[in-house]
Each structure stands twice: as C-alpha cells, then as structure tokens.
Symmetry: C2
Subunit: 214 residues, 2 copies
Amino acid sequence: MRISKLSELAGLPVGTVKFYLRTGLLHPGRATSATQAQYNDSHVERLKLIRALLEVGRLPLADIQRVFDAMDLPTQDPAKSVALVQQAISPEVDHVEDEDLTRARTLVDDLGWSIAQDSPHLPPLAQALHALDNVGQSATRERLKVYAEAASHVARNDVDVISDADDVDKPVVAAISSAIYESLFAALHRLAVENQTARRGSRIPGPRVSIPQA
Amino acid sequence: MRISKLSELAGLPVGTVKFYLRTGLLHPGRATSATQAQYNDSHVERLKLIRALLEVGRLPLADIQRVFDAMDLPTQDPAKSVALVQQAISPEVDHVEDEDLTRARTLVDDLGWSIAQDSPHLPPLAQALHALDNVGQSATRERLKVYAEAASHVARNDVDVISDADDVDKPVVAAISSAIYESLFAALHRLAVENQTARRGSRIPGPRVSIPQA
C-alpha cells in the first residue's frame, strides 16, 4: 500500500508517518521509485503500537524507540526478549539516593520476592518512596503491603497471559502491552476511589469485591 | 528567606524557581524591594510538591497547574476539594468513541460501582480499552475483573487514609499524592512480574501473597 493508505489505516496524518520514518521509529517500506515506497500490514501494526504507547501508555518517543530496539533484537529466547522489553518500558530515573535504594531492596526482600540485584525496577520504586516522604505522605509499612498484594494479584494474571501466548512474537507484544495495562489500572483505581468515596459519603455499605487467593 | 535559600531547600536551581514564579505555578513571595522578595515554608512545600508530581507522578506542568488551581479554590468542603483535585490529576483524553465509553460504563456497572454519569475517570478507561484492542491485546472479562479487584483493594486503603487525615488541608494533599502512589504501584507491579517470572522459570513454587477480604 502507499503511504496515504497507511496513514488512513493507522489513523495518523501523513506528516506524522513521515516523521516516524525519518526518525527510524517506523521501519522503511519497499522503495518502488526515488520518491515512493510500498508498505504492508507490519507498518500498520507498528504505527498502532506507537499510538497506543504514546497516547495511552504515555511513554516518551525515546522510550518507545528503546522498546522497539529490544523487541527487534534477534533472540531465540522469548524470556530474554520479554525481560528486555520490560526494562525498556521501565521509566529511566536520573538519580536515586543509596538510602532509598536500600529501602526498596528491603521492601522486596521482606515480601519474599525474587528480584535481581540490579533490577531496573528498583530505582523507580526508590524514587516513589522518596517523593512520598518529600510531600509528607510517607508510605507506611501497612500501606505498602496493601499495594504489594494488589500488584502481586495483577502480576500473577499478567504472567499467565504472557506464558499462555502461543507464538514467538506474542509474549513480547504482551509485555509491551503492560504499559497500556498500567494506564488501565490507573483509570480503574481512580474509579474505585470515586466508588468508595461515594459509598462512604452516602453511608450505604456497598458490596465488597473479594480477591480469591490463588 | 531569600530565593537562593528557597532554591537550596527545594533542591532546584534558582532559574527553575524563577520560571515557576513567572508562570504562576509558585505563588509570589512578600516583596521587600523592587527586585527582592522573602519566601517561607509554604514556598518550600509547594516546590517539593511540584517536583514530586513532575518527576515521579510524570504530570505535565499544565496538569500540575490544574491540580493547584483545584487545591487553592476556597471551599469549606474537603470532599469537594478532593474531587476537584482527583479530576485535575486525571489525564485529559482528546477523543474517545461513544462505543468505548459505553463499554467502560458497562464495566463499572457490572462491578456494582457507584460512578457519576459524567465521571472524568471513564474516558481514560475507555481509551485504554480501545488501545488494547488496537494492539491485539484486548482485555478479557476475566482479566478486567482481576484488575478491578486489585484497584478496589488499593482504593479502600487510600480512602481510609484520606478520611483519617485530621486537618483540613490533609485530605487534599493525600488526594494529590495518589498520582505518586500510582507510580509506586507501577514500580511494584513490574517487580511483581519479575518475581513471578523468576519463580516460574526456576520452577520453584513461591509463597503466595494472599489478599485479606475486607
């Protein structure tokens, strides 16, 4: 297909598609002349992924590039590809205090979680703990436990979905989509707060959602 | 205190503090001459909040301004202030299809949640559902249920903390900090996925975290 058709299918202006081609975020089409190229479904899919990560996952373009770099690495090991993508999705943190990193480490150790010493997910946790201290809303041990329980509950399901994927590419796309699932969670969380607030305000005890123990 | 001291206490360059003053994100100090002003603890606190929302909550400056506008509205009703802040923290969504909005509405109705017809949190949910369809990772009913259970678990605790706050300003700051708690959740979620993946890869059945029913 021509670039105009590609633009239409992806729901993006031609100028934007050209920009992604120029920056390398979108792979080139098959050149048919000096100024024209043909594109296929792989281009449509890639553009839909860019849109989803940008508009819903709210990842900056540089992080999306890192995700694609990880995704396109030739590895025969799906677990390794998934780990690389998860690392690329994780926000880069400029600076964390050693003290905060130790707190983050202690927390996951207390939870009994198997976390690599150099896990890319520890600095963002340390940064969040530090920020909460700074605004006078330090996370209590109890509150952290509640958050960890919820995170575990969701993660079990996510890993089920990733490991049930039945072809080589799927685990990677499932890993990428976790950036979008995080936005889904944030929206559900705000709605759940609205629900709880409404129920308590009106003094009507609502049905409680119970979480089955796995 | 002078601007140099304020800059030091907030951990921000003087130029950045001046930029926030110019844009109105930071309230003016008490002028002591044509070129100098005195600042106090309220300025330090506001700057810490800006940093936390920017660096950890990853809110754009325009949204932080909306949060402060909501926070500074003179209302005697803490519940109203909290609702306004929560609305300001919620990401603005350019466009959602009616069909997706209906799906979001149906989902919260199925959950039995009390959600206002015009809740600002429904469009972000609709947008996330749409994006997942677009990348071929549609959320199944079962997966949405798992996410909703986790969101409910966390929200119950959040609303407890907000309603336990013992002075007029605290509920609002607690509501603002939910943007930071969302980043904390995202970090814990990535760690929990790492933990689950490690355990399954190594075939060591790990301890399961159980969520107590409230």
